[in-house]
Symmetry: D3
Subunit: 321 residues, 6 copies
């Protein structure tokens, strides 16, 4: 796929296959039904309206359908929208499949697993290592496909494992710079910190919060799992307690969802590593489609700030990694 | 014991037995060591200074010692202090024991247990009943002696069970007024809401936070215990999840220590019942020694407000219950 | 009336009488005028659009008109809307009247008045009783019909008196549990706490804020009325002052509209009783149309939270009271 | 009195008459009683300790006593203190009187009354004028002697009337600059805005909050008085309502004690005039004793900021007015 | 121009020349392009929709075009909108020019410059005077035409200079009332406080933030300019430092954009003068079109409050100045 | 020096040389003057009282004096204090010098300068490199000796340069992990971000805020210096603007002293790098003297939290680096 839907500007023509991520019915002022569909490919997504739809259309253009669409990008109240000229469902002769239109991490699941395993093996404290290994193994399949969130950052296939992967590399760099930090505790905390999201979120595509995700949350879910893992493995001592504390405190404070503020050095550092990696990812996303000398759209999870790409920074600099 | 140490006013003489709750050594400006002791009986406590102490004195007047003391109440920077004229450790001929000097709940442990059991048996949903019964039984001894907090409210022997007992009666009244409330879930939530404090706090006298109390907290500790109890009892379905949610959300919001805000009706009501009972107890404490037409001392946990006792309210009205 | 407008789901047909609560004229993109009307019956209300209206229609379909309407419920941007197929004003042969379409308290005005009078007579302090009786009598008619608010909670005919009625029962239960509370002061405070709303709001249907409601507010209006009532009745002493304090402080703190925080025990309790009853009513409203295992809509006055109805709670449990 | 107690620096000798404003008994570590007295003259006040006092001393050196004192100014934990060498009560031969040692407004009560009357007569709207005149007359004596606060600003004899006097002059200047402001409403609002303090505070010397001051507050007290004045004078229409709104809203918002935010232009302006005059007075006080090129002490009511007196501003510039 | 576009009410007919301030293209639900134009004259502006436009129309009705328009004022979702019946670009025979349709300060640029110069000459401290004169001269042209903001207050031609002009008159009045204030520093601070806006904003019409406006801001830009001006003029001593402090602190605190809170008396006063003048201007704007006895629209920059015009205030009172 | 003053526990004897960092005179209750001195060596500092001092003592024991002291460590209100048995000023035969008692960075000034220079040379953008080089050279001497703060973190000799040195290494690691970050801008921002502290603070020992430090602050001072450096070097374009933005925004938001929030990716990252390094240094300091299984003292700049050292972390792990 050449350029991708999200790279288009106002006035650009669109002729490509795309995945319908969501489809909502409405009634127009002329009394006729219409669909608001979100069309996506790996580059991102764009909204479109299908006016005057028939009941068959409503069935045909549901979420998770692949379509071939032609049209033009327009500006609708400051946001891009696709003005559809023609649209049809894809068929077998088109040789397209959903997986090609879903954004996913830049590393394969095998690569992610290998990297994370390497860090698990680097944990010298056997209690911490065993608990971590046990829980990663227990949730391995979901861990490798889950997004890290429903929106904001790493909200793509394998986003969770990729986020953990990057945080581990950052943690490794920090341990070298601050040798008084305990690498074992930090690595174990990084690997497990968001693992509860495999229960908080419904899965890799169009993810939503589960009931236990809403009422308990990934933080408390994982703290309980650590306690139970330690019991199952017959592990005693302060290690499981510290690991639970790292999980419980990694959002930093009560307003942000942590029932306890960090009270252990590695817990404090984990909170910062999580933030830095999430923000770097959000900025990469937001500034990716921006030309030098321009501002990005507002980034919701960063206090709705807009970010500027200085005109002296060469374009391709953004495309690395 | 006639009047009690906490009822004394500036200028009153003191001649009584008392329990040393804490004892801290200092060095005075004349270079001599002294002890700051907190003397208590069932009415409350008062600070005193023992000047120019010998090494023997330091041993003799440690925390948890019973003493006979004579002196006079004075004002020290706006707080009452006991000016000690003479002090000696009690001996066997004095026939006094520690239990007589420790404040405790107005109901006996047997009465408290009977009341709480009655509510457990009133829970019709068998899953909720079994989990509740299991956990109360598991922690029964500590539950019946633990204070509800290190300070602020119900910080006395059996304070936790007494707080739960009063909350249950209040919950019962509310269920009658608002029949759309589910009594089973509410009772189970009330009984378990603070049970984690038997692990968060060190015990009934001079209680302090334990390590897991500081780093995990009673809220998360009990959520995990419920999850494990359900597993042990082979209980599935939404009941253990709802119960965990009630525990996790009972502080109302993140800033107050809850990782989730209430999202179930009974969780919202539990939060209010907890608040009302704690505040009524604090106000009873604060206004107890106050004469009609006067203000109380500032109540720390109620935004440092002072409370006024209207002069038209008869004195003995405060002494009920 | 069988099911009621508010119980309808997307796709349901509507054929019934309804009351137009509000009617606002707009101009559509085809340049023709249309009306946005809010149709209601006792179950609640739903929005509808009347497209391409004539000048006669605009006159005919004003607020407070009863109509017969046919159509279908659709989803418009996540909210329910009635797609109108036909509509006509009701006539004498329809035998319908406005009172049948207005939501009102579950108790009659006579019942409410009798209950409130019983509590007034239970006030033993004659000064408090006389002031309370005087003010209830003065505003009796408006008190018995006024809603308790323009939206959020008890926003229906007799909502104010019903809210007071429930709070009194709750107060009664609390006085029994906490006998150190002064029942006289509490009952008087409950009865008068929101009575200023008969001046703050414009009346029982489609209520709006009056000028003195906006610039002075029900809290200050009632504090002044108490002062004047005491003067008229020749009452001196602390009673009128305490009663004014209870009214002034019942929103709890400055940010919530109270010029003074509670500084009397009964004032603190009044604030909590007001909150508990309002929140129980809002939750009953929000969860009423919700099926077990589902979440309610967001509740604006409860920090926009959604509430879950556990799937193990039997349906009819919500319909009591 | 030459220089005044508040102008003294560390190391300066003191030999002068002074007024004891407060006297508190303590017990020193050598077991002997001592007095902490606050000595004052018109320039301000300084703390002193009278060590080893006899019972006669305790009687002799109570608040409101005039004394002759000799000693030296020392630094005690960053604050100035008077190290007393000798002290004795004044006697008739000393020819000193309390009034000479109490700080008061720079204008006499007659001057203040005349100025305020001039503004009352400038109010053209007869309803506003009559209400204002009525209330000023009713409280005239207390109005002319009351301080404006217990601390922070204008906390001296006639401070309230002086504050109003300055605000009126400032209001006059603003009305000339912004002719769309209604002078009548603004003047009436300024004159009455803090008049409730004659009931909130206990009187001109060592003022404290009264019971109705604490539980109702000057804002609500005056709103009620306006309502009653209008009734007594048979005044109807919006004028009394607007005047009440100006009083109720003059602290600007809920957190600062106003039950309503300003919703009338003159109410908004009144809030600003009140602030500007209070802050100018506090800064004059704080910077008065400061040399050019130095910082003042921290000003509590101005977020504990310290203020700098630029070294290029000539000294006598501060002494005007 | 008789009445002006902003004075029109719902139902009023419009037949006049107007300036298009902005023009945004959209696509209607019938798939045809339309323009949303903002039409303005000196009285203010009103929105209008041009439906079904041709490509020529899109070119013809761009921002900064003068048009002749006929239509009717309607209500659209609570805001006024012009329903266009006919529209055409103006031509030479119409004898209209842009300047006649742009709102500008009530004083001419010459008058504003003369007044400001008078204050500069009144600055006796030669260092302060020279820096002020230097910077006003440097930016004179932009200073005299720039608005004071993009919206909220003084957002018109010469708005900045007019705001400064009014603040100087207010400062003059305050210096007379509080002679301990240093007039030199205050005048210099007022004149320069917002001068950085000539670099922060893009110019007098349809102003927007510049890149250095967004990333540095007028406060820091002007602080740097003062430092550089002092260096260029060879001025040493505290004067440039104080002037920089006044600029840096004039928003009052960090949350409002000032890196330092005021720590000099004149800085504190400058902050208040800025606020009072901005708020008086906003209230004049908001209440101008309001009839006595009515509320204004919500004022965004004043916490979205609505303001009431008392019915006893004569109409023409608003039109002064 | 064996163990160091800060490693001592209650009851330990002290016999060593020490530097008096500050000395404040007081008057004891026995009327005699005493000195409160802060004694320090490289390990930290401890308070001591010198009772009953003569005028000669006051001269002899001033700040920056080296003394030989004997005594014992005691507990005074929960903090350690040195109970002095004997003290004398050091003399030439003692062969001690101030530099041996001042804490300083673990790298020499030469090492710090070399490292920082290496990063400057790594900046490929010549404009950024020249501005950075120019300013480092201009302030080189002060840069290499200045502390990074008056307290909290890096408050030692060369603390500023050491903080920059560590941040550069951290920045280097991050650039490798996030290649879309512009290393040039980040390095330049790190090197200059706190350079304004050489003007904000008074110097390396017992540092205090300067006048321009208090009224302008290091953030605005450095923004101005960058602007002037660019002008001097004839540099145009966006580089100086971006660099100023990084400096202005590096505290993250208004409440924390930044007039602008980060709006450039490297600015956001700079803010985080600054935080991480400061917090790691504070935690190293706080946990250094703590035994495994114990909590640290409260860390003021980290919301007064206490930090726990897990008992399974080997002791010497803290002593690295």
């Amino acid at each position: 796929m050449e350029q991708g839907i999200r790279k288009k500007q106002v006035g650009d023509r669109v002729e490509q296959y795309a995945l319908i991520r969501s489809s909502v019915r409405g009634i127009a002022s002329n009394n006729k039904p219409f669909l608001t569909v979100m069309l996506s490919d790996k580059s991102g997504e764009i909204e479109a309206k299908l006016w005057g739809v028939t009941p068959e259309d409503e069935v045909q253009y549901q979420a998770r359908t692949l379509v071939y669409v032609q049209g033009e990008v327009v500006d609708f109240k400051g946001r891009l929208q696709l003005k559809v000229r023609s649209i049809r469902p894809s068929n077998e002769h088109d040789h397209v499949q959903v997986a090609d239109f879903v954004k996913s991490a830049p590393l394969t699941q095998e690569e992610l697993l290998a990297n994370i395993h390497a860090y698990i093996f680097a944990i010298e404290n056997s209690k911490l290592q065993r608990i971590t290994r046990h829980l990663v193994k227990k949730h391995q399949e979901a861990f490798l496909t889950s997004p890290a969130a429903t929106k904001n950052h790493h909200e793509f296939l394998s986003g969770l494992a990729y986020h953990v992967n990057c945080m581990l590399d950052l943690g490794d760099a920090l341990v070298k710079l601050y040798p008084h930090v305990n690498a074992d505790l930090l690595y174990a905390g990084i690997i497990l910190h968001d693992l509860g999201k495999v229960r908080e979120l419904s899965g890799p595509i169009d993810t939503a919060y589960t009931l236990e995700g809403k009422l308990i949350g990934h933080i408390s879910l994982m703290a309980t799992e650590i306690d139970k893992a330690a019991e199952e493995l017959g592990i005693e001592g302060e290690e499981p307690l510290m690991l639970q504390h790292l999980i419980l405190s990694h959002h930093g404070k009560g307003e942000w969802g942590s029932p306890k503020a960090p009270q252990v050095k590695e817990a404090e550092l984990l909170h910062y590593i999580d933030n830095v990696d999430a923000r770097m990812e959000m900025l990469k996303e937001a500034l990716g489609p921006v030309s030098p000398g321009q501002f990005s759209e507002r980034v919701q999870a960063m206090e709705f700030r807009q970010f500027y790409k200085p005109s002296f920074i060469p374009e391709d600099n953004e495309d690395d990694s």
